[in-house]
C-alpha cells in the first residue's frame, strides 16, 4: 500500500516537472501555431546560468528571481531574431517547427561548449520529509507548488486581463485581431517572454532536482509535448492536467510492467491520443494551423 502511495506521489512530482515545460509549450503553440521545441533548451540554458551565478556567491537564492527575467529575454531574443524573420518570409508552421528543432540542437551544443559535458550539481540544502513512510524533498514540494500556481496564474492571465484577451484574439484569428488594432508581433513578444520566464524558473528547480546535463532539455520537452497532447495542445490548463496524468500513469504503470517500459508507456499513450483524440482531453477541436 505504501509503495502504491509512494508511486502516486512520484507520479505527482514527475507530472509537475512535465507541466513546467508543457504549460509554456502549449501557450506558444496556441497563439503562434507552431511547436517550439527550443523551449527545452531555454530550460537547460537557464539552469546552467543559475549554476554559474550561484557557484560564484554564497547567496544563491538571491538569483532565483533574476533567472526567469533573463530566460524571458532569451526567449524574446529567439523570437525577434529567428522566428519573426521566418514569419515575415511567410514561413509555414512546419518551417518554424524545423527551425525550432535546429535551435534546440544549436543551444545544446552551445551549452556543452561553454560548460562541458561533465555533470554539474547545484549545491543547496535539500531536507527530506517523511510522512507516513512517504518521502519527499523540499525541492520537490517547491516544484509541485510552483506548477500548481502556474496553472492558476496562467488561467487568470488568459481570462481576466486585457493582455490575455488580446492573446486569445490573436490565437483565434490573427488577421481580424490586427484589423481591430492588436499588434500581433507585440503579442508574440509577450508570449515568448512569459513562457520562457516560466520554463526558466522551472529549469532552476529541475536543475536542482535532477542535476545538470547539456541534454536535459530534450528529454523534458518530449515529455512536456506528450503531456500537452494528452491534455490538449490548444488549452494550457489541459496541457498542465495532461502532464500530471502522464506522470502518474508512467509511474504507476511500471508497478506491474518491467521498469524499462517507462518511456514506452508514455509513447504508447502519445500515439493513442494522436490517433484517437488528437485534440486531447480538454482541447478544442484543432483548426489547421
Amino acid at each position: 500500500m505504501s509503495l502504491l502511495l509512494q508511486l502516486l506521489l512520484n507520479g505527482l512530482i514527475a507530472g509537475s516537472i512535465y507541466s513546467l515545460v508543457s504549460s509554456g509549450f502549449s501557450l506558444i503553440y496556441q497563439v503562434n501555431k507552431f511547436m517550439n521545441f527550443a523551449h527545452g533548451s531555454v530550460l537547460a540554458l537557464s539552469a546552467y546560468l543559475f549554476y554559474s551565478l550561484s557557484s560564484m556567491t554564497e547567496f544563491a537564492l538571491f538569483f532565483l528571481p533574476i533567472i526567469p527575467i533573463i530566460s524571458g529575454f532569451i526567449g524574446l531574443g529567439l523570437n525577434r531574431s529567428i522566428y519573426r524573420s521566418l514569419r515575415k518570409g511567410k514561413s509555414t508552421s512546419g518551417v518554424l517547427l524545423i527551425a525550432s528543432i535546429a535551435l534546440m540542437i544549436l543551444l545544446n551544443a552551445l551549452i556543452q561548449s561553454i560548460w562541458g559535458a561533465a555533470v554539474r550539481i547545484i549545491q543547496v540544502k535539500n531536507p527530506i520529509f517523511e510522512i507516513l513512510s512517504l518521502r519527499i524533498t523540499l525541492v520537490q514540494i517547491c516544484i509541485i507548488v510552483f506548477s500548481i500556481s502556474i496553472f492558476f496564474i496562467l488561467y487568470f492571465l488568459m481570462k481576466k486581463t486585457k493582455l490575455g484577451k488580446a492573446m486569445r484574439a490573436v490565437s483565434d484569428n490573427k488577421e481580424v485581431a490586427q484589423t481591430i488594432g492588436i499588434n500581433s508581433e507585440k503579442i508574440y513578444d509577450y508570449i515568448f517572454f512569459i513562457c520562457s520566464a516560466i520554463v526558466g524558473a522551472g529549469g532552476v528547480l529541475i536543475g536542482i532536482e535532477q542535476n545538470l546535463s547539456p541534454q536535459m532539455g530534450i528529454a523534458l520537452v518530449i515529455k512536456g509535448f506528450t503531456g500537452a497532447v494528452i491534455g490538449g495542445l490548444s488549452s494550457i490548463q489541459g496541457a498542465i492536467a495532461g502532464s500530471f496524468i502522464l506522470g502518474i500513469l508512467e509511474n504507476l504503470g511500471i508497478l506491474w510492467l518491467p521498469s524499462g517500459y517507462k518511456d514506452a508507456i508514455s509513447f504508447i499513450i502519445l500515439f493513442l491520443f494522436l490517433l484517437i483524440k488528437p485534440s486531447g482531453l480538454f482541447g478544442k477541436k484543432m483548426r489547421e494551423a
Partner: protein, 367 residues
C-alpha cells in the same frame, strides 16, 4: 559578385580537401562520444589521443609521415557508431580505428569494420559481447566478464544474500548486469529485483521505490555514464535505501569531486592500475599541465597505449590490416601505461582488478 564568391569558395574547398590526400600523413580514425551524457569519456580520451599523436609526430612520426587522427562523434550508441565507422572507412579510407569508448558504439561499428578488414582498437568498451565481435576487434581494457564477476564475488563475500540491480538499457550495462546476476546466484545469493531505465530518463524514483520495497542487502548500480551514476546515488539516498551500493569505479571517478560526501561507503570495482607507473605518470602529468584534472586515469592510459600500439603497427607493417591484426595477437607482456599488455586469442586484454571504497571523498583500495 555572387558568382565570384561562389567560385572562390569552391576553390578553397578543393584546396583544403587536396591537402588531406598529401602523402606526408598517415590517417587513422577515431570514434568517440563527443556529445551527450557519455561525452565526458570522449572529450578526455580525445585529448589523450592528441597528446600521444603529438609525441609520436615530434619523435619523427611513422616512417617520416605524420600521424593524423580523424574524429567522429559516435554518441555512445550502436546506430551512430555504425555511421561513424562507415564514414571513416568509406570516405576517409582509414585502416585502423581507435574507439569507441562505449560498448554500444563499438558493437555497432564492429560488423562494418570486420567486413572491410579494418582494425578496431577500443580503449574502454568493456562489454563481454565484444570478445566475440570479430577477428579485427581489439581492446586495451579488460572485459566486464571479469569486472562483473569481481563485483558479485565481493558482494557475496561480504555476507550479502539479497541483491537488487538497476541498470541503464545499453549494451555495456546489460553486459555487466548479466555477469553480476549469474555470478551472484552461483555464489549462493539471490537477485530479488532487476530494474532498468532508458538513457534519456533522469527520474528513477519509481524504480528505486520498487527496489526499496524488495529490501535488498546490496544494490548493484550500472549506469552508462557518471552523470546518471551521480543521479542514481542521490535519488537512492532520497528514497531512503540504506543498502550497500556497488558500482563500476569509472562512474565514481566521474562524480567524486562533486558528490564526494554522498558517495561515502560506496564500493567500486576497476582494473588494477598504477598511476605512478613509468609510462602512465609522465602522460598524466602532461595532461594535468595542459587540461587540468584527470578523471579516468586508467582509461586515459588505455587510450594512450592504443595510439602507441597503432603507431607501432603502422610503422612495422604499413596500412596492412591483416598483418596488423596478426601482430596484435602476437603481443605478450609489452610494457604500457596501463601495465603489461597481453592480448588473448579473442583480442581481449587480461588484467587484474582492484576493489575500492569511497572514504573521505577518495577511492581507497580494499583488495
Amino acid at each position: 559578385m555572387k558568382k565570384i564568391l561562389l567560385s572562390v569558395l569552391v576553390i578553397l574547398v578543393l584546396l583544403t580537401s587536396c591537402s588531406g590526400v598529401s602523402n606526408n600523413t598517415i590517417k587513422i580514425g577515431a570514434m568517440l562520444p563527443l556529445t551527450g551524457d557519455a561525452s565526458q569519456y570522449g572529450t578526455e580520451f580525445q585529448r589523450v589521443a592528441e597528446i600521444a599523436a603529438q609525441e609520436i609526430n615530434d619523435a619523427g612520426g611513422i616512417n617520416g609521415k605524420k600521424l593524423e587522427i580523424i574524429y567522429e562523434d559516435s554518441k555512445c550508441n550502436p546506430k551512430d557508431g555504425a555511421t561513424a565507422a562507415q564514414k571513416l572507412i568509406n570516405v576517409d579510407d582509414v585502416k585502423v580505428i581507435l574507439g569507441g569508448a562505449c560498448s554500444g558504439e563499438t558493437l555497432g561499428a564492429s560488423p562494418i569494420a570486420e567486413q572491410n578488414k579494418v582494425i578496431i582498437l577500443s580503449p574502454s568498451a568493456s562489454s563481454p559481447d565484444i570478445t566475440n565481435a570479430g577477428d579485427f576487434i581489439f581492446r586495451t581494457n579488460p572485459s566486464d566478464a571479469f569486472a562483473g564477476k569481481v563485483a558479485a564475488e565481493k558482494a557475496a563475500s561480504m555476507g550479502f544474500k539479497k541483491a537488487s540491480i538497476i541498470h541503464e538499457n545499453t549494451d555495456y550495462a546489460q553486459g555487466l548486469k548479466r555477469v553480476f546476476e549469474q555470478v551472484f546466484k552461483e555464489s549462493g545469493g539471490e537477485v530479488v529485483s532487476v530494474e532498468s531505465y532508458s538513457s534519456e530518463e533522469s527520474d528513477f524514483r519509481t524504480q528505486l521505490a520498487k527496489i526499496k520495497a524488495a529490501n535488498p542487502d546490496v544494490v548493484y548500480l550500472v549506469p552508462q555514464s557518471p552523470i546518471k551514476g551521480g543521479l542514481l546515488v542521490r535519488q537512492l539516498k532520497e528514497a531512503g535505501v540504506k543498502s550497500q551500493l556497488v558500482m563500476d569505479a569509472i562512474m565514481l571517478r566521474g562524480i567524486l569531486k562533486d558528490l564526494g560526501s554522498q558517495l561515502e561507503g560506496v564500493i567500486g570495482v576497476e582494473p588494477k592500475f598504477d598511476e605512478k607507473g613509468p609510462i602512465a605518470a609522465p602522460m598524466l602529468s602532461k595532461y594535468k599541465a595542459k587540461y587540468g584534472e584527470v578523471t579516468f586515469g586508467f582509461y586515459d592510459s588505455a587510450t594512450y597505449d592504443a595510439v602507441y600500439l597503432i603507431a607501432e603497427a603502422l610503422q612495422k607493417y604499413g596500412e596492412n590490416a591483416e598483418k596488423i591484426r596478426d601482430y596484435f595477437y602476437s603481443i605478450k607482456g609489452r610494457p604500457g601505461a596501463i601495465g603489461e599488455i597481453t592480448f588473448d586469442k579473442n583480442g581481449d586484454l587480461l588484467m587484474k582488478f582492484s576493489v575500492e571504497e569511497v572514504k573521505n571523498g577518495q577511492l581507497v583500495v580494499l583488495e
